[in-house]
């Protein structure tokens, strides 16, 4: 089944009869309806469908990933799913679709923006939406930023290096976790490592804490002075910070990193025995 069919099936299974009937009728009408009807229908969704969690089962999440690799709608709500469903069901090709999407975003409320951005991996003509995704990264509304950055395969697949790096840095800047960013390790790059290291220094100068997750994208490119920074964290850091520095050193290609890590036998062993992980650092108990 494709994503459109899956959304249809999941919503049908969850919506009360009247809401389900509205959605089915509307989806059908939109295939031939006016632009006005289209915009009104999308905005009506929260009133007709409600905002409860979509709450997919693990089997359904597996269906999602099979239909569209990387698609992870575990945090979606009913209105979010219904909006993306209507967008897809209206059945337009790339140019018409992105023109409508632009129009929708111009007049969107927060919930709609979250839905439109989280739907990015499902839209026709994928490369066409790069500027839209980059615009989402520029938002000042945390929930909207998260819709692009978290559990969304689109940025890693489509964003060029500069906006990708901005997205990762901004996630730290606004205090959200890096771990749910799809493709975080695969898209790490030396320029990002430099930006993050500069950011860590800025925070240290200001006497502010540095998220331990930052070092995850530094490690694979850490050599020379960057190793000294990681040494500083090992020396002075909190428990999670030291674990992060150890993991970062373990991912560095520089033999000096290995030497540095070995000088902290407890952490060195913890890394070898998988007692520390980026997931645990991102989600402290």
């Amino acid at each position: 089944m494709n994503p459109l069919q899956l959304l249809d099936q999941w919503l049908k299974a969850r919506l009360p009869a009247d809401a389900g009937a509205w959605l089915a009728t509307t989806a059908k009408a939109l295939q031939s309806g006016s632009e006005r009807d289209f915009y009104i229908a999308i905005s009506l969704v929260s009133r007709k469908i409600g905002k409860s969690d979509l709450a997919l089962t693990s089997a359904e999440l597996a269906q999602a990933a099979a239909a569209r690799p990387g698609w992870d709608p575990r945090d979606w709500s009913l209105d979010q799913a219904a909006r993306v469903y209507l967008l897809l069901a209206a059945g337009s090709d790339g140019p018409v679709f992105s023109r409508r999407l632009d129009q929708l975003c111009i007049t969107a409320d927060i919930g709609e923006l979250v839905a439109f951005y989280s739907g990015l991996p499902l839209y026709p003509d994928q490369p066409r939406h790069v500027l839209r995704a980059a615009e989402g990264v520029r938002t000042n509304m945390k929930a909207v930023f998260q819709a692009v950055a978290h559990r969304n395969p689109y940025p890693a697949e489509q964003l060029p290096e500069a906006p990708w790096n901005q997205m990762v840095l901004k996630a730290l800047f606004i205090g959200i976790s890096l771990d749910p960013i799809v493709g975080l390790d695969r898209r790490s790059n030396p320029e990002l490592a430099r930006m993050l290291r500069d950011y860590a220094h800025e925070r240290w100068s200001a006497g502010r804490p540095v998220s331990p997750e930052l070092w995850r994208c530094v490690g694979p490119h850490a050599t020379g002075a960057m190793l000294a920074d990681l040494g500083r964290v090992l020396e002075k850091g909190t428990g999670p910070e030291r674990a992060a520095a150890a993991l970062a050193l373990a991912s560095s290609p520089d033999p000096a990193a290995t030497g540095l890590l070995w000088s902290y036998p407890d952490l060195s062993v913890a890394v070898t025995e998988n007692k520390v992980s980026w997931q645990a650092i991102a989600n402290p108990a």
Partner: protein
């Protein structure tokens, strides 16, 4: 005691205001679409403004634990630019059904020109088409006759009085508004509109049925704490707590709650999804119980409870 400010233009206010409003017990507010002090000349600036009411401003309010609702409409001043008004009317339907839009508003008369009348009627028709409430701005000048005309036209257009809030009332208009079955809102304002000592007398005379107050605070001299301050004054002057609660909270909720978009449960027991999407922290959940009319000390005028 909790408060609702059912008419306040937060786009023109700072985060200091949000902080003080939350501390004074305001749990929810309604931001009517209005003008910006200087007329807009392009439909594009109107679109961006309306989008900010359902987007950015809602997010800002949420950061302080305040629930933000809005009304959407073409205000009477800018209705006088007919070329602009036509284009605005075209895009309004795209906003009316959005989440948290509680009414078409604020609409009505300013100079009471024929063009204002045309777009007031057109928007009453939209309210009917979409099954929405209406929030009416009554004129500063020639107020009594403008207020009566607003109500007569609403009835003529087939809009039920109990789905219309008539705002910016005073001693001269309140009786007509209540007698005709409309909701009567009062703007408590320093210098112009209603002072809150006068409001106490209105509460004494008319009780608390279908009456409520707001601050209409905006980019001019105005006070975002007008509702909690007036509540305190009413209690000090012997108005019963039950009436004060109705005038400063319950009646606004009753009136705008008819939209189905504004519910007490939003701030008393927010859904998890709401927390996830919007709220940094919720004052209700943090267990704060602000004192009635408690005013944080930051502001110079904070101590002045009385509005002349």
């Amino acid at each position: 005691m909790r408060f609702i400010d059912p008419h306040i233009h937060m786009s023109a206010r700072t985060t200091d205001d949000y902080e003080r409003m939350a501390a004074a017990g305001i749990v929810a507010l309604i931001e009517p679409a209005f003008w910006l002090g200087q007329p807009r000349t392009q439909v594009g600036s109107y679109i961006d403004y309306l989008s900010s009411l359902v987007g950015w401003e809602r997010f800002r309010a949420a950061q302080f634990g305040i629930h933000h609702y809005c009304t959407i409409g073409l205000n009477s001043k800018e209705a006088n630019n007919e070329a602009l008004a036509e284009q605005v009317l075209e895009i309004l339907p795209r906003y009316l059904m959005k989440e948290g839009v509680v009414a078409v508003g604020e609409i009505g008369y300013d100079d009471q020109t024929p063009v204002e009348d045309k777009y007031y009627r057109a928007q009453l028709a939209l309210a009917k088409e979409f099954g929405m409430l209406v929030q009416v701005h009554t004129p500063h000048r020639d107020k009594r006759s403008g207020t009566i005309k607003s109500m007569e036209v609403a009835v003529e257009m087939g809009v039920a009085p109990n789905s219309v809030v008539i705002d910016h009332n005073n001693e001269e208009t309140v009786k007509d508004v209540l007698d005709r079955g409309f909701w009567a809102a009062f703007t408590i304002y320093p210098n112009t509109k209603m002072g809150n000592e006068r409001m106490v007398e209105i509460a004494r005379m008319y009780g608390s049925d279908r009456i409520f107050i707001d601050s209409s605070a905006d980019w001019g001299v105005s006070d975002p704490l007008a509702v909690p301050k007036t509540a305190r004054l009413m209690l000090d002057r012997g108005i019963s707590a039950k009436d004060v609660e109705a005038i400063c909270y319950g009646n606004a909720l009753k009136a705008f709650g008819q939209s189905g978009q504004m519910k007490e449960e939003h701030w008393l027991s927010p859904a998890p999804v709401d927390q996830r999407m919007l709220f940094e922290g919720n004052s209700v959940l943090r267990g704060q119980t602000p004192k009635v009319g408690e005013v944080p000390s930051a502001d110079q005028r904070a101590g002045e409870v009385v509005f002349k």
